[in-house]
Assembly symmetry: C2
Homo-oligomer: 345 residues x 2
């Protein structure tokens, strides 16, 4: 009697175009993979959108995540997609409440990898106290995407004491950076280049909503502006604010917190850490009277241990960012003219 | 004297990775291409998110658009991305107010094409009375995307008289289809296959918010449920509701409005119009007492001229969709087992 060895049904293990067609496979993928993992009363309604009540000042933000690789030291695309949008809302002075989640999957992605990302999304959403309430899944042909792109959009309630607007920035305000620079981008590029360090260089991805909420409870309108220096790094954020406010932004290199190993890695990789992406820190522009206490309060938080006052806003060099280097020289820090690190977030 | 003929600066005409890097090129692209076209007080703030006041019942929806080709008879990816999300909100009984807009661009897309899409987005947003308030732009390497993917997420205010939920559906309720079936998917596939018809088969993409708002003004809670049969078509939507409500859904083939040419094209292309995507029609489940007047009211609208009562909800065949064919036979219409048309929306 011949031994019958059936071929495994590979169609069950990888995403096919049919998973994006709106038919049976889409239905099965959503029911077994997504709804089961991310269940909540909004999502469970399985309608074209989610419904809820909202009262008052609201923030709305969106980001698509195309990071390569999907999994990296310190995180993955799923965690990044939750934290990134939670943080964009936090920078508006808002606590994230509802997230949408949209996948663009390249045919051939393993369902196991997708599941790993979805589990990571669930964990990150739980930690950030945000609910995934509506979503979408599309599949594109092999070679027409790159494994997985994720869009999250988020709705948050703005803190009652928040008045975050670049128009409120004045000369004399202090620039506070909440943590060490350049960890995320350096971690991604290290993996891509196959570099290894004594201890792993890890992405700093973390949700900042709770920290920002505490700061707003205490400092309210003394906090003028916040922005997380993701893609393009601290230099790009400072240039954007400099241009919008037409003041000068002065930073001191020796005040900017950076991990020695990250700094060494940046040197090896030929990166200027000022332009490298971060995913777990933010820049705050605050009244000079509160700057010291504000930084001290941040230092007491796990997400702000390395916070530091890194500079100030001035009336000279209007529209420019000026760095005082460790040796005392001054130079203008411009926008990055080209591309330093593609697909970093 | 030699004739000097400088090479055109092609970097200015196509999207490069640098346009997604967060540096100078991103900045220029946004300022010259996006903010100028889509200007409004929310977007002009250029922050990580938009802020506004919201009071009451709110709907939230997201969709990523990966349609291929980007431009097709009757519309393009930009118009689709606005109307699609506006319509998802309308199906929740909500009028779209704020949209987010996120681009994932493949390196090499011509800036002229991107501009054409952005202009189309602006026009569609104006027609639908919705504002693009926040956005994101990413660029992926050549061969890692396909020209342009767009995500829009939307926030809408739910109509005070709306009570849209599948739990409200009861046996006896009537199924009303607001327009002719299968135009969008047939138009896309015709272009892909290079088919030509006597008159062009065009996508039906249109915003349905205003129509739905009028219907809700008049009929309120008599409207039990609405859903637009996009990807997967009418058959998939009916199967989903059948499963959620555990009633039987009975439709009559000779009542379903379809354009002769679209029906002919579907036959030629080997498509069952019940599974073909639509972008400008919706299915409403309504009280039987109002069904006739509801359909008549729709027929007076430009977006509902071909509206028809196509069937009803029953207690038999629970969880199933049953079609009575033109010759009188009955058959169960299931989920599409595989993929009929990839990248249709």
């Amino acid at each position: 009697m011949p031994i019958i060895c059936p071929l495994p049904d590979l169609s069950k293990d990888v995403i096919t175009l049919g998973h994006g067609g709106g038919g049976l496979l889409t239905h099965q993928l959503l029911h077994n993979g997504v709804f089961a993992e991310l269940t909540n009363p909004y999502l469970d309604q399985q309608h074209d959108g989610a419904s809820f009540e909202l009262y008052g000042r609201t923030a709305f933000s969106t980001d698509s995540y195309v990071v390569d690789p999907l999994f990296f030291p310190g995180g993955d695309i799923g965690e990044l997609a939750v934290n990134g949008t939670v943080n964009d809302l936090a920078m508006c002075g808002a606590m994230a409440r509802y997230l949408s989640l949209s996948f663009i999957i390249e045919e051939g992605l393993s369902i196991a990898e997708l599941q790993r990302v979805i589990q990571s999304i669930r964990r990150a959403a739980t930690l950030a106290h945000v609910q995934i309430v509506t979503g979408d899944t599309k599949v594109v042909q092999r070679g027409k995407g790159d494994k997985l792109f994720i869009n999250t959009s988020g709705i948050g309630s703005i803190h009652p004491r928040a008045e975050i607007h670049h128009r409120r920035i004045r000369p004399g305000d202090r620039l506070v950076l909440s943590g060490r620079l350049a960890a995320h981008g350096t971690a991604i590029l290290s993996v891509r280049k196959g570099l290894e360090f004594e201890t792993a260089v890890c992405s700093d991805t973390v949700a900042l909503g709770a920290t920002v909420s505490k700061l707003l409870d205490k400092w309210g309108t003394h906090i003028k502006f916040m922005r997380d220096p993701t893609r393009g790094g601290l230099a790009s954020v400072l240039n954007e604010i400099a241009e919008l406010t037409a003041y000068g932004y002065f930073i001191r290199q020796d005040s900017i917190p950076i991990d020695d190993q990250v700094e060494g890695a940046c040197e090896m990789l030929g990166l200027d850490p000022l332009y490298v992406a971060n995913e777990g820190i933010f820049l705050a522009v605050v009244d000079k009277e509160i700057a010291e206490e504000f930084a001290a309060m941040l230092q007491a938080e796990s997400t702000g241990r390395h916070a530091a006052i890194i500079g100030e806003v001035g009336e000279e060099y209007r529209g420019k960012v000026v760095l005082r280097s460790r040796v005392g020289g001054r130079r203008i820090v411009g926008y990055l003219p080209g591309e330093q690190l593609p697909r970093i977030c």
